[in-house]
């Protein structure tokens, strides 16, 4: 009470309620409602008092009991007293009836099964003239219909009665009792409209019966005051929710449009909330009001801004994307902090779906990063990188823009990461200086390295960003000509950095300079186009994809991808691949094919460079290898849609025997491989016998199905080895 604790009064309340004096009862019940609730034990003690008072001769005492029961009655109390309430619902006194009706509402909310008890009484109450009773009855019927679909069916028959009552309210003249600013009993009108909405939802018959009434209410209600607008609002909600005819729907949307132009902020807020609900279904109707909605983005009020933002994002379409995006970007630069990340992600989604050109898309994302870079989600960086690699003709333009952005400001981590990556990848384009899409600017190698070093040393850069910068610096070593020594020194400095991640990278790059300098160029080659597999595809999978979908003109090699964590594994794989990494049979799937160091990078390039698919031969037995008298043929048999058995048969047509003949196989990561034991490892001369090996392949996707086979054998005292790749399988 009044904000002060008063729990000591509970027993006093119980005592006062039991007193015969009205004044004490009144205060006692008030105290009970304030201090007790169904969780308190003392509330049980007043159950009996309430029961007695419900049948008191004085209606005010009865009303006290009813009010208290409706406010804090527990489930047991409700069950006990429900028959009493039902009796009171049929009493002759309308004062009591209206209170009993709302008490019944509370009982139904607490104990759903008792709804059946009150349904007949509720039906008869609709014939009352008293507005209070009528209101209570409508609330009770709404509650019953919402909980029980059968009751809903039964009450559909009351639609004509309700329509009659509404008509009376709308068309009647001035009634002093219920008038509010020219509207006759708006509270009751709103309630009846709500009940009509529930009854007409998904029902043609009921909706037809109320079409006229709704049109009448919509046109006759005066909308200068809030009350009128409240009734109109409820009407609009009802029209949009039932199976109304199209003319009525248009009328409803027009009313919402009028609301949008209203000076009152509340009305505009309401209008946008309702338009948000129908933007999915009546998209064109809402598009007509796009201008007003976009203006609301500039409103002072935070609630209105939020609504306008959501509605604007929902209204972006292929036709209006350029103008909408301009408005949204202006909004982003001045929007309140709590809306920034929502706005940024909304803009990204819209840009991705409706971008008219790649250059526009990249420009938009860069703009967002410069204005709100701190609030974007983490996957923005890889998404943007993937987008940039896809737009190959824009590499020059992109890297120039990013370089300029980097010079201006290095505090936004996502922007700096993307910029570092691009400078590392396309540094040569940057240094070339000319670019047809932006003004040419002379950038020297020192400038670029300075910029990257600033990022590396700045305290504003996060560890991930510094990783990006270090890798970019390293990549530039193959793209620039003069300052390679400077890069070497930078890299060796970071070999003793405190951050473990940076130290590891620096040490490995150092190794790349010292021991594996011959591989450096190949390792740091341009990235191929990254295919967007699925949201959140892992690095390993994308590596597999990269190998399969080689569309680039340059021969590709397993490269360092700029994702921080996986770089380490890849590098180790490449640099430490001194032993055979192809497993002997039985083997499991291998992700990357690595090479023995004896064959330098060149060999790998040969193997992977030419990936034109071989022509499919109709014959089931396909010769796949024939060299120095050793021949290998292949035949396949499909077991199911995702499994296949491959049989390899080796034969020897030379004059000498072949021993220790082994076959090893490797497949892309998405394919599972099982090699059965070979029939032998001895190939006698002149094709006297053959060696057969069966391989079982399990794959998801036929496109990825390739196999690499290494053949090794000894003949005439020396060992031979060879590799062959099989791209297409006959009979597939």
């Amino acid at each position: 009470m009044l904000g002060y604790p008063a729990h000591f009064g509970q027993m006093e309340c119980v005592r006062m309620i039991a007193s015969p004096r009205y004044s004490e009862k009144r205060v006692g019940y008030l105290g009970a409602m304030m201090l007790l609730d169904e969780k308190q034990d003392a509330s049980l003690l007043i159950t009996n008092s309430i029961k007695n008072d419900l049948s008191h001769s004085n209606q005010y005492v009865q009303s006290l009991a009813l009010c208290t029961l409706a406010c804090m009655g527990s489930a047991e109390m409700c069950r006990d007293l429900a028959p009493e309430i039902d009796r009171l619902l049929r009493a002759s006194n309308s004062y009591i009836k209206k209170k009993a009706a709302l008490c019944a509402v509370h009982i139904v909310r607490k104990v759903h099964e008792l709804g059946e008890l009150f349904a007949p009484a509720a039906r008869t109450l609709l014939t009352e003239k008293n507005h209070g009773v009528l209101h209570g009855a409508v609330v009770l019927i709404i509650e019953l219909c919402e909980r029980n679909p059968e009751t809903l069916e039964r009450f559909r028959k009351t639609v004509p009665d309700l329509v009659q009552i509404m008509k009376g309210l709308v068309l009647s003249g001035y009634s002093p009792e219920h008038d509010v600013a020219g509207i006759s009993d708006p509270f009751l009108q709103v309630r009846i409209l709500r009940l009509l909405r529930i009854l007409g939802h998904n029902n043609e018959g009921a909706s037809d019966a109320m079409n006229d009434l709704l049109a009448q209410v919509a046109t006759n209600t005066d909308s200068t005051k809030t009350v009128g607008n409240a009734v109109l609002y409820e009407t609009v909600l009802t029209v949009l929710d039932i199976k109304s005819e199209s003319g009525l729907r248009v009328l409803a949307v027009n009313i919402l449009g009028r609301f949008l132009l209203n000076n009152d902020r509340n009305i505009r807020y309401i209008a946008m909330t309702s338009l948000q609900k129908i933007v999915g279904t009546d998209h064109n109707a809402v598009q007509r009001h796009r201008g007003t909605i976009v203006d609301c983005l500039k409103d002072q009020d935070a609630s209105v801004k939020r609504r306008a933002l959501e509605l604007s994002l929902a209204l972006v379409s292929a036709t209006n994307v350029r103008s909408m995006m301009k408005e949204l970007l202006i909004f982003l630069s001045s929007c309140p902090q709590e809306l920034k990340s929502h706005a940024a992600s909304g803009i990204f989604n819209a840009a991705e779906r409706y971008a008219p050109s790649q250059r526009w898309h990249i420009d938009t994302i860069l703009h967002v990063l410069t204005t709100a870079g701190g609030d974007v989600r983490d996957e923005t960086v890889p998404n943007l990188i993937q987008l940039i690699t896809n737009a190959s003709e824009l590499h020059c333009y992109t890297v120039h823009k990013l370089y300029r952005a980097l010079l201006l400001d290095i505090s936004t981590q996502s922007l700096v990461q993307v910029a570092c990556w691009c400078i590392g990848e396309y540094g040569d384009l940057l240094l070339r200086g000319e670019c047809q899409e932006t003004e040419p600017v002379q950038v020297t190698e020192d400038d670029v390295l300075d910029a990257l070093e600033t990022v590396l040393q700045s305290h504003m850069s996060s560890p991930a960003t510094r990783g990006f910068a270090l890798t970019a610096t390293m990549k530039l070593s193959t793209r620039i000509t003069d300052n390679v020594d400077r890069i070497r020194s930078v890299v060796s400095i970071y070999g003793s950095c405190i951050d473990v991640e940076l130290q590891q990278r620096a040490v490995e790059y150092n190794a790349l300079f010292k021991k594996y300098d011959h591989m450096r160029a190949a390792v740091l080659e341009r990235m191929p186009v990254i295919e967007k597999n699925s949201p959140g595809h892992t690095n390993g999978e994308s590596m597999g994809e990269v190998k399969e979908n080689q569309a680039s003109k340059k021969p590709a090699e397993p490269k360092l991808l700029p994702q921080p964590a996986n770089q380490v594994c890849d590098l180790l794989g490449l640099l430490g691949g001194s032993e055979e990494t192809l497993q002997p049979s039985p083997s499991t799937a291998l992700g990357l094919l690595t090479n023995t160091p004896s064959t330098a990078g060149g060999n790998l390039l040969d193997l992977l460079g030419d990936l034109e698919p071989e022509p499919l031969t109709p014959a089931p037995l396909v010769p796949v290898y024939d060299k120095d008298g050793v021949a290998l043929t292949l035949s396949c048999e499909k077991q199911s849609d995702t499994a296949m058995t491959v049989t390899l048969i080796a034969s020897n047509s030379t004059d000498s025997d072949i021993s220790s003949f082994t076959l090893q196989a490797a497949v892309p990561k998405s394919v599972k491989l099982n090699m059965n034991a070979p029939s032998g490892d001895f190939l006698p001369a002149r094709g006297a016998a053959k060696v057969t090996q069966m391989v079982v392949l399990n794959y998801q996707n036929k496109v990825n199905l390739k196999m690499k086979i290494r053949i090794s054998y000894s003949s005439r005292g020396s060992t031979f080895q060879d590799t062959v790749q099989i791209d297409t399988f006959p009979g597939l």
């Binding site: 004096r21 009205y22 409602m33 005010y60 009813l66 209170k99 219920h178 509010v180 807020y269 609630s303």
Partner: protein, 156 residues
């Protein structure tokens, strides 16, 4: 359904609280704190509707008091504004030019009036005159001789 009604001053002092669902004391305190901070930090000419958890909060400022109403998500906000206004009119009629002091010193009367207007989270009586008449009759009953009960039949 109305979930709760709060009245608090510009300094955040709670003057009246009515809860229409069973809530623990701790929860009540927390909600009150949230409401006062949210509403008092709003700009003067801003929208009267807020979103809080799964409820809609409608607030209106009358002189030095903030009236704060919480309704469920399917309800009509504009009519809730009218409910607040109606309650203020009832208080005004009863006290004659009501001010915050009236509510502080006669808080039980404010609650009685509220209980004649709202019940169980819904509007009980839509007519101002009816509510006023029942309050007057109850008051007369209270002041009258306690041993005799008046049977006051106001309406059939």
């Amino acid at each position: 359904m109305i979930r709760f009604l709060l009245l608090f001053s510009r300094q955040g002092k709670l003057r009246l609280q009515k809860w229409f669902t069973p809530i623990t004391e701790r929860e009540k305190k927390k909600i009150t704190r949230d409401m006062t901070t949210m509403v008092l930090s709003r700009q003067p000419r801003s929208c009267n509707f807020l979103h809080w958890k799964d409820l809609k909060i409608i607030y209106k400022r009358y002189a030095s008091l903030y009236f704060c109403l919480a309704i469920e998500n399917g309800e009509n906000e504009l009519i809730a504004l009218e409910v607040i206004h109606r309650y203020v009119e009832l208080l005004d009629k009863y006290f004659g030019n009501v001010c915050e002091l009236d509510i502080i010193f006669n808080f039980e009367k404010a609650y009685f009036i509220l209980d004649e207007f709202l019940m169980g989270g819904e509007i009980q009586e839509t007519s101002k005159q009816m509510v006023n008449r029942s309050i007057e009759a109850s008051d007369m009953l209270q002041e009258g001789d306690n041993s005799e009960w008046f049977e006051v039949e106001l309406f059939g």
